[in-house]
Amino acid sequence: MSETDTPRPVPTLLDLFLTYGKIGLIGFGGINAWARRVLVEEKRWLTDQEYAETLGLGQVLPGPNALNAAIMVGDRFHGTAGAIAAPGAMFGGPLVLLAGLATFYDAYGEVPIVKAILAGLAAAAAGMVIGTAAKMTQKLKPPPALLAVGLIALVAAGVFRVPLPWVVLGLAPFGILAARHVMRAK
């Protein structure tokens, strides 16, 4: 944890609420890519490693990983209040928007231009998620064994559509063993 010379800023509860509200509303293609960008790159509240570790824990607990991560980040900085404010803001804005979209879709979903715009947007969002995974990998510089674990997770879940509990529970022991080896070697 002692990897930087400059102290990291600590958010106030309002910061946390507003920032997670923003992450929710700009979070196209899922939250995780944007949460990393805002929390690590823009606000510098967490390091890349800390964010990825929080996400890793959120991934193993049941429930959406983005939500679990938001609860843990909120709790980390402001306890119970933070654990409510961060996910509340992250879900609140998009829910209002989604209710509006559902109404709009019921009325105009069959209009060709609406369909075309949605198709283009979905294609770009998919690339954004892939690009984020590539960027995270590049920044984390995983040693070969850990890289292999990540690639197997990608192929198992993305290509063979192995159910997620199997992917995570099956790979976790190997990831942990590899991490143990890497950290011992240091």
Partner: protein, 174 residues
């Protein structure tokens, strides 16, 4: 929304949430079984369109359950589905977060966390792949996806630019 539908939403999505490990996209096959096969609330085509709409909107991917809830119970159905899908596991995550705070700094915990990181990144990549497959209705969307991947990976500009670009390409060419 009838009481029956309310409880079907609560129990159905609540149960899915407890077996969901990963993000909202990972549990889509389970959701499909619930809303299309078990309850017959919508057709395959309805399901696919609602999912595309949720993908096009910002917010956690799991919010797609809100659109399924909306379909059967309007705004009350939306809130019921989202809460059923998020509340039980949120309490668990909170409990675990507290536990983690007490254990902070323990070496074995850091090793466990470090070992889970690549799985998380691999699963994000898998989500991207699945999203890309869903969006790939021809060579133009595939090109948009490839361009967007490179843009986000190789530059530090806000990804909103490439999303706007995708929407414009869609409006003009699709």
């Amino acid at each position: 929304m009838t009481a029956t539908v309310f409880w079907q939403l609560v129990l159905g999505f609540g149960a899915i949430s407890l077996v969901s490990v990963g993000g909202g996209i990972a549990v889509l096959p389970e959701m499909h079984r619930l809303v299309v096969e078990v309850h017959g609330w919508m057709t395959d085509a309805d399901f696919a369109r609602r999912f595309a709409l949720a993908q096009a909107a910002p917010g956690p991917n799991v919010l797609v359950v809100g659109l399924f809830g909306w379909h059967v119970g309007g705004i009350a159905g939306m809130l019921t589905a989202v809460l059923a899908m998020t509340l039980p596991t949120s309490l668990m995550a909170f409990g675990f977060s507290r536990l983690r705070a007490r254990l902070a700094g323990k070496t074995w915990l850091r090793i466990a966390e470090r070992g889970l990181v690549p799985i998380a990144v691999g699963l994000i990549a898998a989500s991207g792949l699945i999203l890309a497959r869903g969006a790939a209705s021809g060579w133009i969307p595939v090109a948009v996806t490839a361009g967007s991947t490179l843009f986000v990976w190789r530059t530090d500009y806000s990804p909103l630019w490439i999303l706007a670009g995708g929407a414009i390409v869609g409006a003009l060419l699709l």
